[in-house]
Amino acid sequence: MTVLELDQVTLRFGGLTAVNNVSFRVEKGDIVAVIGPNGAGKTSLFNTITGIYPPTTGRVLINHAVVEQPATLQNKIQWTIIGVVTAIAVTLALNANAIWDAAINAHAITSPFPWGQAFNDACRVLTPSAWTIIPGLVGGFVGASGAWNAWRTARCSPDLVTRVGVARTFQNIRLFRELSARDNVLVGMEPKLHSRAWDGAFRLPPHFREQTEACAKADELLAFVNLGEVADVSAGSLPYGHQRRLEIARALASQPSLLLLDEPAAGMNPTESASLMLLIRKIRELGITVLLIEHDMKVVMGISDRIVVLHYGNKIAEGTPAEIRENPAVIEAYLGKEAG
């Protein structure tokens, strides 16, 4: 079964093509590595997959589907409603003085107050004229187009991708520095949490139920990456190696079907990277597919089932570690022409 499929993905920043027409597939249960010299477009590729930069052309299919908020009828109704509400609000606001004068100030404060009469008077003030209609229409247009614009920019966003089961780590560690290790994992669990704002504010039972369960799970995950001891320490004050592992635990917390690791072994010594390889294998045993970017060839060759090679944004090779090792194009890309 294909977990991830890239179909002729191209990503351009202005004149710069970061990813050029790349296609490949990742099958369930595989460990796939993306390698390539610096600036080959690996991280850009990850960012495209996770929805940070939507591809300029081409498609990213996760579990056979493009992750995108569709412009459903519901969205269109939403924009219309926002437009209409803005229009009404602008019209009312611009005529608020007149309406209030007619409806409230014109009547004596009696009990009961003649609400019906007040409403009629208010409507009378609001008879159509250029002054009531044009600003309203402009406001409505701005409201609707603003809503559309907001939808357009948030159409493809990382949180949606995460919610369909893709989790990632970052090349330059991006933990929530002021949260404790456990809280970091709990944040990673977000897609699986359902309690409401008021549950937490008023300490209602759903909050406690979920909190207990989630904390237990978080502690389990921390133990899985050997960080059980530092659960209450703020993430920013953890040593580098711990932070790397915490990022992995946080990513695992969303129970992803696909895990993207961006240079997990960067800055690690051989012992540490060996234990990292062990960890990645353990993750695979949980049934999670892994896609990783890595420069450490020992790690890449040691654990990958398949390898994709990028060079200047183009895919130049794909295959098993053995095939890649022999591939002349790859050798050329890495070592230059003379060596080839």
């Binding site: 996770t50 940070i52 606001a93 608020a96 003085n97 007149a98 209030w100 004068d101 409230i104 100030n105 009547h107 404060i109 107050f113 609400w115 603003g146 907001a150 920019t153 948030a154 966003s157 990382p158 949180d159 995460t162 919610r163 989790a167 990632r168 970052f170 991006r174 933990l175 929530f176 520095r177 002021e178 949260l179 404790s180 456990r182 809280d183 709990l186 944040v187 990673g188 977000e190 897609p191 949490l193 309690s195 704002a197 549950d199 937490g200 504010a201 008023f202 909050h207 909190q211 207990t212 904390c215 237990a216 502690d219 921390l222 133990a223 059980g228 659960a231 209450d232 703020s234 969303s254």
Partner: protein, 348 residues
């Protein structure tokens, strides 16, 4: 903070001591109570801003506008010149709701903006609100302000309006409720989302959090609290006061309340409100009176104590930030959001 045991004890127990003092103070006379109630109101407004600026990291320079919305909503709902007259408690409820809706409306267009762009948009919103309140004079009576608005009341208890103690304890109770709510929210899923968005928005998005939604909720709750404070302030003064009271200067005071105490923690806000409002209404006033009484005054511009207020206030702010750049209670001293619940046993 320092490791010295005395300081540790102070750091640990000052909230308890403060609560005890605040509970018994009115017994020494109403004079002090009358000075503390506005501080409580500003503490609530500060808590509201803290949700937005402290927890979620959105610099909001228009907190006073939400206070104004609360005060005016409350006033419109309760003044005898309008037919609504729904009374103190329903009035508070409506004020909170209108404040929350206004916060959401402001947040909608402001959602995608980076920190300082958001700051100027909120500042602009504040200016717009003061202008609108002034200009819609059929409703708000313009610069007259609306009065008399409903006075604070305690259900099933009747007391004379001039008795200050019931109001004092009512406001204290409301403040404690607000503190509790803020504390709970911060320790729940919502609090984690806010802080995650504040620390690293992109990472938070990659964890499945929708920053837009998180910020909207923060704005709604924060503005609701500010409006709550505004309504309480109006009720305390018996009038919605005038629109220009809720201007940028007021927003700056509220922002200072949040920052001086230490961004993003509830205790800090309380301390900030005590310092910022108390400094002016207690220390400066008494300093001036003391100087006047001792004849340290003259007709020269420099010899009039109240002419030095801006200077003292400004220098105090600069010094406070210089000596404790993280605020009086820095975020590092704050315990983790979610503590290990007793029931969740240690995993092997």
């Amino acid at each position: 903070m320092s490791d010295h045991p005395t300081i540790k004890i102070i750091a640990r127990f000052w909230p308890h001591a403060l609560l005890a003092i605040v509970l018994v103070l009115p017994l020494f006379g109403d004079a002090i109570a009358t000075k503390l109630t506005p501080i409580m109101v500003f503490a609530i407004v500060g808590l509201g801003l803290n949700v937005v600026a402290g927890f979620t990291g959105l610099l909001n320079l228009g907190a006073a506008a939400f206070m104004a919305i609360g005060a005016y909503t409350f006033a419109i709902c309760t003044v005898p010149i309008y037919p609504f007259q729904i009374g103190f408690w329903p009035g508070l409820g409506v004020a909170i709701m209108v404040g929350a809706v206004a916060g959401t409306i402001l947040a909608l267009p402001a959602m995608r903006l980076r920190g300082d762009y958001l700051a100027i948009v909120t500042l602009g919103f504040g200016e717009i609100i003061t202008d609108v309140l002034k200009n819609l004079d059929a409703i708000t009576k313009g610069t007259q302000g609306l009065n008399p608005v409903a006075a604070p009341e305690i259900p099933f208890v009747t007391y004379s309006i001039s008795a200050y103690k019931p109001t004092y304890y009512l406001y204290l109770a409301l403040l404690l409720v607000a503190i509790l709510l803020c504390h709970n929210m911060r320790k729940s899923r919502l609090g984690r989302q806010w802080i995650a968005v504040r620390d690293d928005e992109l990472a938070a998005r990659s964890m499945g959090i929708s920053p837009a939604r998180t910020k909207l909720i923060a704005f709604a709750i924060g503005s609701g609290l500010c409006a709550f404070g505004g309504a309480m302030f109006a009720s305390l003064n018996g009038t919605s006061i005038e629109p220009s009271f809720y201007d940028f200067q007021q927003s700056v005071v509220i922002l200072c309340i949040v920052i001086v105490g230490g961004m993003g923690n509830v205790k800090g806000v309380i301390l900030g409100a005590l310092i910022m409002v108390g400094f002016n209404s207690i220390i400066l006033v008494n300093l001036t009176e003391w100087m006047t009484r001792n004849g340290w005054t003259g007709n020269n511009v420099l010899a009039t104590p109240s002419n030095w207020k801006f200077m003292i206030f400004g220098l105090a702010l600069i010094l406070m930030m210089r000596l404790r750049p993280q605020g009086l209670i820095p975020a590092q001293d704050v315990e983790p959001v979610t503590q290990k619940p007793a029931t969740a046993g240690a995993t092997p």
